[in-house]
Amino acid sequence: MKKKIAFLLILFMAFKSHTQTIEVCNNCSIASLKKAIEIAKDFDTIILKKGTYKEHNIIINKPLTVIGKNYPIIDGELKGEIITIVSDNVTVDGLFIINVGTSYTEDYAAIRVKKSKNFTIQNLVLEKLFFGIYLEKSKNGKVYHNKIIGNAVEEYNSGNGIQLWYSNHIEIEHNYIEQVRDGIYLEFSDDCLIKNNISTKNLRYGLHFMFSNNDIYQDNTFENNGAGVAVMFSNKIKMLNNIFKENWGTASYGMLLKEITDAEIKGNTFKENTIGINIEGTNRINYTNNNFISNGWAVKVRGACYTNTFIENNFLYNSFDISYNSNVNDTIFNKNYWSNYTGYDLNKDGIGDVPYRPVKLFSYIVNRTPETIILLRSLFIDVIDFSEKISPVFTPDNLLDKNPLIKQVAW
């Protein structure tokens, strides 16, 4: 047994010593990354020294580690895709990649991973890009600490920051993504973890799920996007402790949920969005411990929503707390704190003695005639809201929080 281990150890060391390091710099004998990949053996390390490398269509077809020292620039000169990884176990670290070509027929990316496993893409800076990091039918990868800065102006001719397509078990952490079409886009991608990213100023969505299940995203910040996060046609997604801020505009949402089921939304903060959460066709979703602060509409319910449960959330200073466009209701509100609540608590158990009705008549009117928004906070509107509160006619009469809290929920 001991011999066996010793043998393995020796074998391992021999193997290890065989891997070599290849240095690439502008005036070395090996002056291009392509050349270095060509002569490298499996599990070699390629070190790119500082400089500018004008290359594109670099194909990494063996398990290599490519490390940039002091951010060498790889300039694609707008000619097409820059790096394509087609092998397992590849690491790319510390490169500055610019000028990805734009195409209307192909999705050129700064770095693409194709049908590969166990890759790591980290510490990259991508600028002037079409698509940033494109993962295609790949598994078990890590995308860490990248900075992606686009210059997208129109949706039709711009790409996404990080795109996953049929890629499972991917970890995306600590990335910063700015001004692309979708910050992070997942299509048919399951069991991914998206954590601690910042996605801002994107044209469409900060983060976008399509047909992706069992994913988790947490501790991310989505600010000033077309819409913060869109989750569509997906199941069992966990959304924890994210911040959605200042997504302003006529079709802007902090979070857009459409046709999703069994999700958990917990500990998020929605601040100053036109619409905090827009839900449509969502079933069995639990909203707990979220903060809705100063939004136009905290939650807009469009229809076909069953068993959505709001428990222990804070609704603070929103122009409208909840908006409904029908008078059928299957949403449950319980033990939330509403800053607009005017009831009292005589037995001092921390729960208001009068139920709270989060839907106002005025929000119903605004749904019908949007121009009437200009009468917001008028005394007349207060009067008709009050009369609706006393005897609901237009708003669902079972839509109420029976146990509104007197103090803000802390967790």
Partner: protein, 260 residues
């Protein structure tokens, strides 16, 4: 005119009412801030108070002052003084003393609370500015009513009706017409409708600060330029200034023609 202004002003200062008014706002500010412990909520409540109460008090006070000082006015009219300066002096005396009560009454508690260190200072100063504008507008309107009506009871009646109309009934009619014509493009109409009522105008001005995220939810180019840029703020202020100027001009005009 300045002398009459000064006289009216000191007269009001000596009378209880401006102190009562001051004390009311002072207490309101204190209660809102120190019992509520939340600045943004306090600003919202204050907004409701300002757009409802300030016009009411301005109207009632203006009418009351005019009728009360009628004998003195008649005495002044017998002197070699320009009529416009007599009435403008009185008007400014009332409006300035009311505005001062408002600004000091609300300002002091907020300064005590440490407003200068907080981010809502702009929201708050906007509140005070609109409050001042409303005082000037509604006092001028009250003087107009009083000048046109010899009969005290009638004058008071009209004054209260004016307030009721602009504060509540107007919005009701406005809302009904918007719903009635909902098939047509309404964004221009709704903005013009707002401009024609000083209370709505100041409400919109404050909305621009407090509820901008909701206002931007409406699709419409006119709305968007109005609310999304400084354009809305500037136009609103100009309209408020117009709302002060027109009634004041009418005071001048009417006082020249009136037979006392």
């Amino acid at each position: 005119m300045l002398k009459i202004l000064k006289y009216s002003f000191y007269d009001l200062m000596r009378s209880r009412w401006s102190y009562v008014y001051f004390a009311f706002y002072f207490l309101l500010g204190l209660v809102l801030l120190f019992l509520n412990n939340n600045l943004s909520k306090a600003v919202i409540t204050l907004m409701n108070v300002i757009i409802v109460l300030v016009p009411l008090i301005g109207t009632i006070f203006g009418v009351m002052y005019y009728y009360n000082s009628k004998e003195f006015t008649e005495l002044l009219l017998a002197q070699p003084l320009k009529r416009s300066s007599i009435f403008l002096g009185q008007y400014l005396g009332v409006a300035i003393s009311l505005s001062l009560s408002l600004i000091l009454g609300l300002g002091i508690p907020f300064i005590l609370y440490g407003l200068f260190k907080s981010g809502v200072i702009w929201d708050f100063s906007l509140l005070l500015i609109t409050g001042t504008f409303l005082t000037f507008i509604f006092t001028a309107l009250a003087f107009n009513i009083a000048l046109s009506n010899e009969n005290k009871i009638k004058g008071f009646g009209y004054a209260i009706l004016l307030w009721l109309f602009l504060a509540i009934i107007y919005d009701g009619l406005f809302l009904m017409s918007l719903i009635l014509f909902e098939d047509y493009p309404l964004d221009k109409l709704s903005l013009i409708g707002t401009m024609l009522n000083p209370i709505d105008l100041s409400r919109t001005l404050i909305l621009l600060k407090l509820d901008i995220s909701a206002l931007l939810g409406y699709t419409g180019a006119v709305f968007k330029t109005f609310f999304g840029t400084y354009f809305g703020l500037i136009v609103s202020f100009i309209m408020l200034a117009v709302w002060v100027t027109i009634p004041v001009l009418r005071i001048v005009f009417k006082s020249k023609r009136n037979d006392f």
